[in-house]
Amino acid sequence: MAEIHAPAVRPPTILGDKTLGGITSDVFAPLDRRPTRLWWWAFLSAAAALLLGTVCVGYQIMVGIGTWGLNRTVGWAFDITNFVFWVGIGHAGTLISAVLLLFRQRWRTSINRSAEAMTIFAVMCAGLFPVIHMGRPWLAFWVFPYPNARGPLWVNWRSPLLWDVFAIGTYFTISLVFWYIGLLPDLGTLRERARGLRKKVFGWLSLGWDGSARTWARYEVACVLLAALATPLVVSVHSVVSSDFATAILPGWHTTVFPPYFVVGAVFSGFAMVLMLMLIARKVMHLEDYMTMRHVHAMCKVIVFTGSIVGLAYGTELFMAWYSGNPYEKFAFANRMRGPFGWAYGVMVFCNVIAPQLLWFRKVRWSLGAVFLITILVNVGMWFERFVIIVSSLHRDFLPSAWTGYVPTWIELGTLLGSFGLFFTLFLLFCRFLPMIAASEIKAVVASERHHAPVAEGVAAEGVTTENVAAECETVEAAA
C-alpha cells in the first residue's frame, strides 16, 4: 500500500544516500567512541539536578510532607502536577511506536526508539510522584491487592488512585517490553560489533538473536501484537489518570470532558517533548540525516493539531461551566482565570493554545529555533495546565472559610528539577549505551525507498530531490 502515497510525493525519509553498512556505522559508531564534551556537560548537569532532587526527596521522606507548601485545603500541588505531566510526556512514545506502526507510518522509524525510551523514563519519573507524595511512602505497597495476614485487608476498587496503580503499572510494563523487543535486532548488531565483556552482556541482552528469517518473522509478529496491546493504553492510561480528577466532586475537577482532554493533552505534550529531544539529539549526535525536516514537519503537524484540540477542550470546559448553571462550577472557572492563579491560567493558554498556532506557518516550521522554542513553551504550558487544574480548583472550593493559597517550597522546586534530572540522566545514558535509532527498521525503510527509486527520480524533475531538500535544510538551519 505504500505505493499509493509515498515516496512519490514526499521527500525521502532518510537523507544522504545511505548504504546499509553506512547506517550501521552511523548509528553504532557513537557507542564505540568516547563521549563528546557536549555529552559530558549535559550528563553532569542532569546528574547534578538528579542529585539535588534525590536530596530533596530524601529530606522530605525523612522530615515529612510538611516540607512541601501544601495545606489543609490544597492537598496536592507540585506532586500530582509532576505526576500527570510526566505520564503525559510518555504518551507520545507509545503513540509513535504503536499507533504509527499500526498505521504504517514509516517515518516513525527514525524517532520511535528514542520516543519509546522517553516513554519509559517519563513513566519512571511519573511513578516516583505517587509514591513520594504519600504521607507514609514506606507503606506504598499497600496499594497493591496482595494476599496478606491483615484480615486480609483489601484495596478499594472504587478509588481512581487504585486504577492509577494498574494503569501506570500496565503502561510501564508494556512500554518496557515493547521497547526491549524492538531493541533485539540492534542488540544483536551490538553483540556482533562488541568484544569481551560487552559482547557477553549484549549476547545476554539480545536473547540469542540470530537474524534468521524465522526470527525476523516472529519478531515482526511480536511487534505488531505488542503494538496492538499498547494502542489502547494510549487512550486508557491518561483517561484513568484523568479520573483522579473527574470522579472527584470538586468543581473544576468533576467533568466528563477530562478523559479525551487529558489524552489529547498528553499526546500534545509528548510530541512536543519528543520533538524537543529530537532537535537536541540530531544536533548533538549528528543524526541530521536520520531525523530530517520531514520528521520535524510531521511532528509539528501533530502538535498543531493536538494543540488545537486542547484549545477546544479549554473552551468546552468554560462553556460547560457556564452552561451547567452551577454557581460553584462557574465560580471555579472565573477563579481559575481571574483569581490568584490567573497568571498560571494565562501562561497555560498562551503556551498551549496560542503558541502552537504559529506552526501553521511554513516559515515557522522551517525555523528549527522557532520550533524548538515552541516545543519548550508547550511543555511549560502543559505543566501549568495540570498545575492550574489541581491548584486553582482546590484552593477555593465550596466553603469560603476553607479557602487558602499555595506557595511551593524549595523542596518542591528541587524535586521538580530532580525529576528532570532523572529523566535526562537516563536519556543521556541511553544515548551512550544503546542505539538511539532503530537501525534495523531504518534499513528496511531505506531498502524499501531504494526499491521505489524510479518513482522518486520521476519526482526529481519537478524539483524535489534528495539533494536539494538536504541543501534547503542546511540553509534554513544555518539561518536559525
Binding site: W76, H133, G135, R158, Y328, A334, L399, T409
Partner: protein
Amino acid sequence: MDELPIPADAISAELEDLVFAGLPATRRSFLRAAGFGVGVAAVAGCSRAPVQKAIPHLTPPESIVPGRAYAIASTCAGCSAACGVLATCRDGRPVKLEGNPEHPLSRGGLCAVGQAELLSLYDSQRLDGARDREGGIGWDQADQLVVAELARIRADGGRVRLLTGTVHSPSTRAVIGRLLASLPDAAHVQYDAASTSAILDAHARSHGQRILPRYFFEQAQVVASFDADFLGTWISPVEHAAGWRQARDPEAEPPRMSTVVQFEGRLSLTGTRADRRVRIAPWETEPALARLVERLGVLAGGRAPSASAGRAETATLEEVDAVAGLLWQHRGAALVVAGAADGVAQDLVNRANVLLGAYGRTLDVERPSLQKRGDERALEQLRQELAAGAVDLLLVAGCNPVYELPDSEDLLAGLSATAMVIACSPSLDETAAAAHLVLPEPHSLESWGDAEPVAGFCTLQQPTAPPLRSARTLRATLARWMGDARGDRELLQAHWESELFARQDAIGSPAAFFAAALSRGFAELAPQPVPGAEAAAPAPAGSAFVAPADLVLVLHPQIAIPDGRHAHNPWLQELPDPVSKVAWDNCASVSPATARELGLRAGDVVRLNAGERAIELPAWVQTGQHDRVVAVALGYGRAGTDRFADVGPEWLQARATVESGGTIGENAAPLVARTAAGRVFAGAAVTVEKTGRRVELACSQDHHTLEVPAHLAPKGGEVRDPARELAFAAWQADPEHALHRGHHAPGEGELWAADHENDGPRWGLAVDLAACTGCSACVIACQAENNVPVVGKDEVRRHREMHWLRIDRYFEGAEGEERVHHQPMMCQHCDHAPCETVCPVLATVHSASGLNQQVYNRCVGTRYCANNCPYKVRRFNWFDYAHDDALENLALNPDVTVRSRGVMEKCSMCVQRIQEARSEARRRGEKVEDGAIRTACQQSCPTQAIVFGDHADPAGRMARLAASHRAYGVLDELGVAPSVRYLAGMNNDPLAPARAGHAETGGGHG
C-alpha cells in the same frame, strides 16, 4: 459523666492521705500512687512521693478499675467565674475536664479557658518548692524568714499589704481576715486585671453597697449592652451565655427569642451575636447612656434633665431613642449593661435599670456576684504607698501586677523599696521575678479550694491528682505563718463545717454537709449580708478623659487569652480568636476604612503611641469595628513565652513561633490609662505610625465573608450559604417556609440504592446556629478529648492547624452593617462520603452506625480524601508533631490514638465515647438511651448548641432538632448526605425594617 461511679470524696480523702500524711498511708492509696507515680516519676522525676517500684494490682482496689475513667467534681479556677467541673480521671490523674451539669451557674458548660486548665496542670515550667532570689530554699526556711519578719512588724509596727486578685474563697478570706487582724497595720487590696470596679462603685452610690450585681440574661427579653462582652469575656461568660441561650430558643413552645442590642467600638464576641449592633466611639458611651436615661425618664412619665448630646453622633442618638422604646416596652424584662470603667456611665446604667424595673428581675443585688470585687481606688492608694516606700511587707498572690498594671517601672521601683516582697505564684512570672521570696501555689486540679462566686453559692475544689509540684496554697501558707500547721483540707473542712454549715439548714450534721458538698461540688447557702459601703462613695469622676479624638484606643480581654495568666497555655495560644481568627498574636485592629486611610494592611507593624507610652504591634483590619477605634487585646507579651520558640516542627523553611527572648504578642497593659478613679481601658487618644516592617500573622481563615470576591462572582452565586440566618419575625410568621430549603431533601430523588446498610443507630449531630456564640469552648474540648496536637504559629500560617472542630466565622452584608455568623464545622459524617470512595487502601470507611471512620493504621497519606472533602475538615499530619514534653503528655486521653506523621485524621464524633456507652448498655442489656452519649464539643458548650444523637430514633432530641424547619445540611445540594444538621441562626431585631425572610437566608439556596 453525670454520675460518679465512686464517691468523689472517698478518692479525695485517699489522695489527701497520700499527699499530706506521707507514704504509704494505706496499701490502697499506695497502689494508686504507684500507678500514677510510675508515669510521673519516670518522666519528670517531680512527684513529691518518689515511687521506688510499681506493684501490680493483684488484689485490685475496690473503687478503682484500672483504665476506667471516674469523675471528680471540682471547681474551675481558670477565671473568677468558678464554673463547676467534673474532672475525668484515669489511673489517678485527670485527662479531661467537663462542665458539671448540676452546677447552677455554669449549667454544664465550660469555656475554652476552663478546658485548657487541664494542660496548665501539666505545665513543666511550674515552680517546684519555695525559692528566694538565689534559688530554691526549703519551705521551713521560707516560713521562718516570714514569721520572723511578721514578728518584727508586730513588735515594731510596720505596714503589711496583701495584694491579690479578687479572693472569692470563703476559707481563704477567713484566713486572710485572721492574719490582718493579728497585725498592727495590715490591709488587703484586691484588683482584677479586667476591672469592674466602676460598677461596684456605682452601686455603692446608688445602693449604698459596693457590690457587683448578678445578671440574669435568661430573664432579659431586651438587653442593651454598651461595650459589655457578656458572652465572651465579661465577668461570668459561661453563666451569661447559658442565660442568654435560655432566653432564646426558637424550638420551644412558644418560641422564645430575646433581643440584644450591642453598642460598641470594637467588634466583640457579643457584638457578633447581637441582634442589632450599633458602632459607637468610646466617647459616645456616656452621652448615649444619658440620652437613654432621659428617654426612659420621659417614657416613665417623669422629667429627666436633658442630657448634653454634644459628643454623640445624631445617628447614635436616634438608635438610642429606638432602643429606649424597645426597652421600655419590655420593662421588667429589660436589662442595660455597660463594660466601661467609667463612674458616670455606670451611674447612668444603674438609673436606667432602676427606671426599667430591672433590679430584682434581670439583675440581682440581694445575692450579688462576688467574682470581681477589685477596688481601683485602693489599688491606687497602695501604689502611692509603695512608691513612698511605706510598705514593710508586701504579699502578692493570685495576680501579676508587674505585668498587668500600667507604669510597671514605678511599681518595680516601689517593690524594690519594700523590705520584703513575697509572691505566691505558680510560675516565675514578672512579679515573682521581682520578689524576695516566691512561694509557689499549686494548680487548682491538684489542691483543695473553694469559691463563692455568687453570694450564698459555694463551690468546692478538690485535688484530682497528687501534687506534681511542691507547692502550697495561700490559705495553708498564711495559716502556717500564724502557727496553724493544719493541712489545706483540714483548714477548708473546718471552715465549711463551722462557718458555712451554719449558713444552711438542709443538712443536719457538719460532716454530712461537707460530704454532700464534695460529691456535688457545691453547696447552696444563705447569702452573707454584704457590708455597706465603708465611706460615702465619692462622686464619680467625670469622663472628660474619654474625649473625641482622631483615633482612640480600646484595650480588651480576648476569648482565648482573657488575661496574662493563660499565656503559657499552648492550646489557648493556638486557638484562633473567634472574631479575627488570628492565633499566636495580639494585633492593633483597625476598621477597613481606617486601614485605607492610614495605608495599612494586615501584618504591617505599627507603633501605637498613647501618651508617653508606645508599643509596636502588627496591624489587623477588622470589619465591623468603629472607624475611630484601635483595638488591642490584653494578656499577650508575657515574659517567658519564648518557651514556644520551637513549639512547631523544625525544618528548612520553618519560622519560629517566637524568637528566643521574645514574647508571644506584646503587652498592651502599659497603654492602659491611669486616672484618679483607677484604670481606664478604652478611650485614650492614640496615634498610629507605620514602622515599615511587616510580619505574617497566623490567621486560620483567609476569606472572611459569605460573599465570593465580586470580580469572580457568577450571577446568582454571589453569596454562599453554608451559614444561614432567619429573622425571628419571619420564622414566627411562617416557620415552614422561613428557610428556603434546598430543592430536595436528602434521600429524595436518589438514583442509587443506599450505600450502607443500617438497621441500628445512625449517629449524627444537630448544631443550632441560633445558640452558637462562637466562644470556641468546643474547639478546646475537642482538642483535649482527641489529643489534637499543637502545631505552632508557622504551621497555622501555612494553614495546617490540626483542630478537628473549627468555627467558621463569616461576615455578610455591606461594610459597617455586616451580620456575623459563627459555624462550628467538623466532619459531617456523610452517608455518601466523598472521602470514602477515593481512598485507595480503604483507610476511611463507613461504620454500620453511620460514622465515617478514619483508620490511622491503614492510612498511607495520599490526601485524596481531604481534597475530595467539600467541608475541608480533614487534617493531615504534615510532620511528626512534638510529644516531647513527657509531663504534658499526661494530658493525653488514653482512649484516643496519638497519630503519627503522614496520616490523615478528623473528627470521629468522639467514637470512644460512643463505644464506651454502647458497651456499657450492652453489658446491662439495654439500649443506649438518648442523651447518654455526649460528644466533647457538646458537653462543653455553654449554650447547648451541639446535640449528639441517633437519626434513627425520631423521638430523640437530636432527631427532633434535625426535623425542625430550621434544619438544613451544609452543601446538601451536593448529595453527600451529611449526618450533621445545622439549624439556621436567628436574628430578633424588632427595630429592623420589615424584611422578607428570603433576604435573611444568606442568598437563598445554592
